[in-house]
């Protein structure tokens, strides 16, 4: 059954193609993640995403070197172009 579905897939980006128009989760360099609706991508993994929620994960350190609990900053963007060199992974957003 799965082989049948795999027949049309010959390269990794063919799988990304399946996520076109769907909400995806993207992990980026610099401790960022985002979810949004994937509109377009290319071979460099440049992405165009809409209705984006971007999360920036950061850990603050006190003056004496003690890490504070991880902090997440979020922001929402209507439409976003993501440059491909920052993309670590793309996955369908878990529903």
């Amino acid at each position: 059954m799965d082989e049948a579905a795999n027949a049309g897939i010959s390269e990794p980006l063919d799988l990304v193609k399946l996520a076109l128009g769907e909400r995806v989760f993207v992990k980026l360099r610099g401790d960022r993640t985002l979810t949004g609706v994937l509109h377009a991508y290319d071979a460099h993994m440049n992405l165009v995403v809409s209705q984006v929620e971007e999360s920036i994960h950061s850990v603050d350190v006190t003056d004496d070197g003690q890490p504070l609990p991880p902090r997440v900053d979020r922001r929402n963007v209507d439409m976003l172009f993501v440059r491909g060199d920052g993309v670590i992974l793309i996955s369908p957003a878990q529903q």
């Binding site: 059954m1 799965d2 049948a4 579905a5 027949a7 049309g8 897939i9 010959s10 390269e11 990794p12 980006l13 193609k17 399946l18 996520a19 076109l20 128009g21 769907e22 377009a40 991508y41 290319d42 071979a43 369908p92 529903q95």
Partner: protein, 810 residues
């Protein structure tokens, strides 16, 4: 440069030819000015090595006392000048691009020269060695023969040698024996007496720079020795006759014997035999005063020419600009102009439509500019005005040249794209390039149909598992591809006059529609899986967006089948099976995941209502009464009507069915334009409809009051929120009224279809709701806008019964 444009390196050579040549032989053709600096390089250091022992070479040509002074340069200049003779001589840059093209077809002329040059020391002795045995012609026939002579000129710096023309040579008229004897002597580097006029390369360069840098005056190039002059003289037509023909060699001999005669008409083709009588004695080649004067005049003319052209140095002419344009355009050409430039296509289509509307003319003409069978530009402007000011002929020329560029580029690519570069690459490496980037959104169109689509789920048996999400997505992508192809095909409709083409085109379209139809999996058995494969396809928003585009292409019968299947499996739809839960009074009670889930479901429902329902409405609008009755019967029998009706898509479906039936029954006045509307509904159909309707209503009536979202909200609420539910924030409240209106619409559709006694039942069922709503509308605490909406909603229903909200006393 080659890296930037992606072209072969012979571009460089042609550019050198025009301007900044660094190889000496080519640089001579640049007419000086621009290259003063570049000629200062130390390339001369290797002259010894490069040109080696040139005694041989010198002797090689000296057997002819005056070795046809113009001959060596002829071979070079003629290659361009003869081909482009029509071009004005004053346009030195004209060579550049044209050479660029010509060098692809006939790269033998300028390109290989630099490459073979270093071999000169090896090659030079060879003719010398062969010379004694070989006939004279063999030397002249060799295409290489001119080159050593050419090489001899710069070498004069190293080993002062009789230049091609200057020094008088001992024997002026030589018999063949003499020549042969001389050739046999060639191994001995006989130093010939030389004239002081022999000019070294440095001197030439100095003169050129002198002409270039200071305020250019013709006098700045002080009478270069006549020896150099003929060499620059393009005598185009001589070359073709020169190599290999006995006549040519004889003529060269004659030329050498009678230098004055041979060189006299230097500017004009000297293909003709020298006019002088062969036996005329010629004195030693002392330049007669008039000849010197002539040379001087010639030189003046040439330097004046150089001068007049020098003001265009470093400027781009029109041809240069065209050249750049061509290169740039060639990079825009793609194998799949429609998909790879999809947005440009859409944009230009819109633009052309606008322009055509503004100009009030017909808009047609190609949307792509074909440059080759496989290549085209995906852009085009308004017809006739494409590519700005360039006319159509220019465009054609441009296209053909770009085609050449693209083709050569493709050929080049084929050779360079070896497999070695791909080692270690992951997945399939796509061989895109600047000229033909791989269209990202387009799947290779030649991909064969890998399997019957309905084998997507290969389980056999009456029931199967539902499609997995991945399978759905794959199937949807294939559907999108098929729809895009079909849409493209429709855009390429042949003109109606071309009957054969039209037939072929129709067949093609039908084939594509058939493919789409199979991929939609509508014909799968109804209960094959839950959800049905087709419903699986239409569940994601992606599939919903495809729906209206599909409907445009399906023939009516298939569309009707689709509608029937959709209605029969309506409860399996995500938006029906898992509708957004009724709103709660206090959203702070919800978890974040809950809220996200609600938002997602709301969004899906909205999408469904926007994308699918209009299509369903349209399809229902085509049905006759019998069909509508049948569809409503399917609804009543196959689904939990109340549950489906509690969702917005359900409400929309039932409303559409009921209103369609009513509009058929209340036969509109005969419309001559729409003949199918004229016929009155068949009494049997009406009867069937009434029965179905009665059944449908009997199922729905007990739950009718619960369908209203506000009632559902109140019912779902508990505790304190039960009191808060009615008191939403005004914004939400208005949204709520809008959703209530949909249900009121359904109620009104029920009302207009209902016979008298059923109308009473309807009002009875909704009595509380009506009173509630009217009272709320009259409550001064209610915002006027919302009150108005409430009254409008109630009146929608009451008017269907011939009543009005104002008749209700509070």
């Amino acid at each position: 440069m080659s890296g930037f444009f992606g072209f072969d390196s012979n571009v460089d050579e042609t550019f050198n030819l025009a301007g900044a040549g660094e190889e000496e032989d080519l640089a001579v053709y640049t007419w000086g000015e621009g290259m003063g600096g570049s000629l200062m390089e130390g390339g001369d250091d290797l002259n010894d090595e490069t040109f080696g022992d040139l005694g041989d070479v010198g002797n090689d040509f000296q057997f002819s006392a005056q070795p046809a002074p113009a001959a060596p340069p002829k071979s070079k200049i003629a290659s361009t000048a003869s081909r482009y003779k029509p071009k004005a001589v004053a346009d030195p840059f004209a060579f550049s691009e044209d050479d660029f093209y010509s060098s692809r077809r006939a790269p033998a002329k300028p390109a290989p020269k630099p490459a073979t040059k270093p071999k000169a020391p090896v090659a030079a002795p060879k003719p010398a060695a062969q010379a004694p045995s070989g006939p004279v012609e063999s030397l002249w026939a060799k295409p290489e023969a001119p080159r050593p002579m050419w090489g001899a000129a710069p070498s004069s710096t190293v080993k002062p040698e009789p230049s091609s023309r200057g020094p008088p040579l001992p024997g002026q008229i030589k018999s063949l024996e003499e020549i042969e004897a001389e050739m046999s002597r060639m191994a001995i580097p006989a130093q010939e007496p030389q004239k002081p006029q022999v000019v070294s390369l440095e001197e030439i360069e100095r003169q050129m720079m002198a002409a270039a840098e200071p305020a250019p005056a013709p006098a700045a190039a002080p009478a270069p020795p006549p020896t150099q002059q003929p060499r620059r003289e393009p005598t185009p037509t001589q070359l073709p006759s020169l190599p290999g023909s006995g006549y040519a060699s004889q003529q060269a001999l004659l030329d050498s014997m009678f230098p004055e005669l041979g060189a006299a008409p230097s500017g004009q083709p000297t293909g003709a035999f020298p006019p002088g009588p062969p036996g005329q004695p010629s004195g030693p080649p002392q330049h007669s005063p008039e000849e010197i004067a002539r040379m001087q005049a010639l030189h003046d003319r040439i330097s004046a020419k150089i001068e007049s052209m020098s003001k265009h140095n470093h400027l781009m002419g029109n041809s240069d600009k065209d050249f750049i344009t061509r290169i740039q355009l060639s990079q825009l050409a793609t194998a799949d102009p429609y998909t790879s430039d999809f947005y440009a296509q859409v944009f230009s289509a819109l633009q052309r439509r606008q322009a055509a509307a503004a100009a009030g003319q017909n808009e047609d003409g190609p949307t792509v500019v074909q440059v080759a069978p496989g290549f085209a530009f995906g852009v085009s402007g308004p017809a006739g005005n494409r590519f700005g000011k360039m006319g159509s002929t220019t465009m054609q020329k441009l296209s053909s040249q770009v085609k050449k560029l693209v083709e050569s580029r493709a050929a080049h690519q084929k050779t360079t794209m070896g497999t070695a570069a791909l080692q270690g690459a992951l997945g399939r490496v796509t061989k895109g390039s600047v000229a033909a980037p791989r269209p990202v959104l387009a799947v290779p169109t030649s991909r064969p149909e890998l399997r019957p689509v309905n084998a997507l789920n290969q389980q056999t048996g009456i029931t199967r598992q539902a499609l997995t999400r991945k399978q759905v997505m794959v199937a949807l992508e294939e559907l999108y591809d098929a729809v895009l192809e079909l849409e493209q095909l429709r855009r390429e409709m042949p003109p109606p006059v071309a009957i054969e083409e039209s037939e072929g085109w129709n067949a093609q379209c039908a084939g594509k529609v058939e493919v789409i139809w199979r991929r939609l999996m509508v014909m799968e058995p109804l209960d094959v899986s839950n959800p049905h494969p087709f419903i699986s396809l239409i569940n994601p928003t992606k599939g919903q967006r495809l729906f209206p585009r599909l409907l445009r292409h399906l023939p009516p019968q298939q569309a009707l089948t689709l509608l029937t299947l959709l209605i029969a499996t309506y409860p399996q739809l995500d938006v029906v099976a898992r509708p957004p839960p009724p709103p709660v009074a206090d959203s702070s009670l919800l978890t974040k995941a809950d809220r996200a889930d609600r938002a997602r479901r709301e969004a899906e429902t909205d999408c469904f209502l926007h994308m699918v329902i209009p299509g369903v409405d349209m399809l229902i609008g085509r049905c006759n009464l019998g069909l509508v009755a049948g569809l409503l019967g399917i609804c009543a029998q196959r689904m939990d009507v109340a549950r489906v009706a509690a969702t917005r898509p359900g409400v929309a479906l039932f409303t559409a069915l009921l209103s369609r039936a009513q509009s058929i029954i209340r036969a509109p006045p005969p419309d001559p334009l729409n003949p199918q509307h004229v016929q009155a509904p068949d009494p049997a159909e009406v009867d069937q409809w009434n029965k179905t309707y009665a059944y449908f209503l009997s199922v729905l009536l007990p739950r009718l009051a619960d369908l209203f979202p506000m009632s559902a909200a109140q019912k779902a609420a508990f505790g304190p929120s039960a009191y808060l539910a009615a008191g939403d924030a005004e914004r939400e409240g208005y949204e709520m009224e809008r959703q209530e209106a949909e249900v009121w619409g359904l109620a009104a559709a029920l009302a207009v279809n209902a016979p008298e006694e059923e109308q009473t039942n309807l009002v009875a069922a909704l009595r509380d709701k009506i009173l509630h709503t009217v009272q709320a509308a009259r409550n001064p605490a209610t915002m006027p806008q919302r009150a108005e909406a409430k009254l409008r909603n109630v009146n929608m229903f009451l008017n269907g019964l011939g009543l009005d909200a104002s008749m209700i006393d509070s």
